[in-house]
């Protein structure tokens, strides 16, 4: 009898028990000189301290990126990242983009038609014609 590793007996379901925000890190890149970074610079000066203080579960990193458009990058638990260019946006619009990254799950966008995704087995079981009262012909 060989030793067999245990199969995974449960799948992680965020929100059942503990809830963990999927966004783990956000990078803010700006340029001091370029005009397209004007709103981003104002966002970093005025809005970002509060935004970062309200999200202790996210790591925030601010770094210059000279002669490029300003960019926000969100890193997610599943290893993926999302990048949004925020050129020529004002601080309020940049804040909306940051909130979008915060609320995203990191997954690739998919078109789904069913609202409910379930990994549980069917509660009432599968219907069988051989059980129950039967059908009189």
């Amino acid at each position: 009898m060989t030793v067999v590793a245990l199969k995974q007996i449960s799948t992680a379901r965020n929100g059942v028990g503990a809830f963990i925000l999927q966004c783990k890190k956000m990078d803010f890149h700006y340029c001091d000189w370029a005009g397209s970074s004007k709103g981003m610079n104002g966002f970093i000066k005025s809005v970002l301290p509060r935004f970062a203080a309200a999200h202790p579960q996210i790591e925030f990193q601010v770094s210059p990126r000279p002669s490029k458009h300003p960019v926000i990058v969100g890193h997610y638990i599943n290893g993926k990242k999302k990048t949004i260019c925020v050129r020529n946006l004002d601080p309020l619009q940049v804040l909306k983009k940051a909130e979008l990254l915060r609320e995203a799950s990191g997954e690739k966008l998919k078109r789904t038609t069913k609202p409910v995704t379930s990994s549980n087995p069917s509660v009432r079981g599968i219907w069988s014609p051989f059980h129950g009262e039967g059908l009189k012909v």
Partner: protein, 217 residues
């Protein structure tokens, strides 16, 4: 950038600050901060709605026409149920339903039914305003509550004291960009219309049937 704009930006931070500073806090600790005003019905109690619409209530149905409408349905604690307000068959059959392990429930959000079990992910067909990830919603509209062998059907809704269903807001998802090409016949011009909808994703964290011990006075 003007000072007033800065000030308005600083004032805008209320929804973000609602997120708890400790992410791994037990969910129960934040139940009091739930933003359930979106899902909750209008101050008109469901009982009065039933009385207005349904003409005659059959005895099997679970509507509570005799109970006084709760004053504040949002933060209403599950009060001990009086057997007189409910159908007598519930008293005998609900413990049997609760004893079976798995339950399903058909919850209604904005009038749409969703058949869910505990642990399911629910993608609403709209973006719910005023919620942030981690919020807990108490869903109190259900038309069906069942286990493997028993089903409790509401008319039109199950009494909200008979079950407890909670959902956690996971975040907002979007769909891939849709492109629709508008084209008229015999004309070369084509117009591309883009749309991208956003959806709020919930996780059903709890589906619980009320204990009969709390019901009997």
């Amino acid at each position: 950038m003007s000072r007033s704009l800065l000030r308005s930006v600083l004032e805008l931070r209320t929804p973000v600050s609602r997120l708890s500073p400790t992410p791994l806090l037990p969910i129960r600790a934040r139940l009091m901060h739930q933003t359930s005003q979106i899902i909750e019905p209008s101050p008109v109690a469901p009982e009065s709605i039933i009385n207005n619409t349904a003409v005659k209530q059959p005895p099997q149905q679970t509507s509570t026409s005799t109970t006084p409408p709760p004053s504040n349905p949002v933060h209403q604690q599950p009060s001990p149920l009086s057997p007189a307000s409910l159908d007598p068959s519930i008293g005998t059959l609900l413990p049997l339903l609760a004893a079976q392990p798995a339950h399903y429930i058909t919850i209604h959000i904005h009038g749409r039914p969703y058949l869910v079990t505990a642990g399911d992910q629910l993608r609403l067909p709209f973006k719910m305003p005023g919620v942030v990830p981690g919020d807990v919603l108490r869903l109190n509209r259900a038309s069906t509550l069942g286990s493997r062998d028993f089903t409790l059907r509401g008319a039109p809704y199950v009494d909200e004291r008979l079950f407890e269903c909670r959902a956690v807001v996971l975040g907002t998802e979007a769909e891939p960009m849709r492109v629709m090409i508008k084209k008229k016949r015999r004309c070369r011009r084509k117009r591309h219309v883009f749309s991208k909808h956003k959806y709020t994703v919930l996780r059903i964290s709890e589906v619980k049937v009320a204990k009969l011990g709390e019901m009997e006075v």
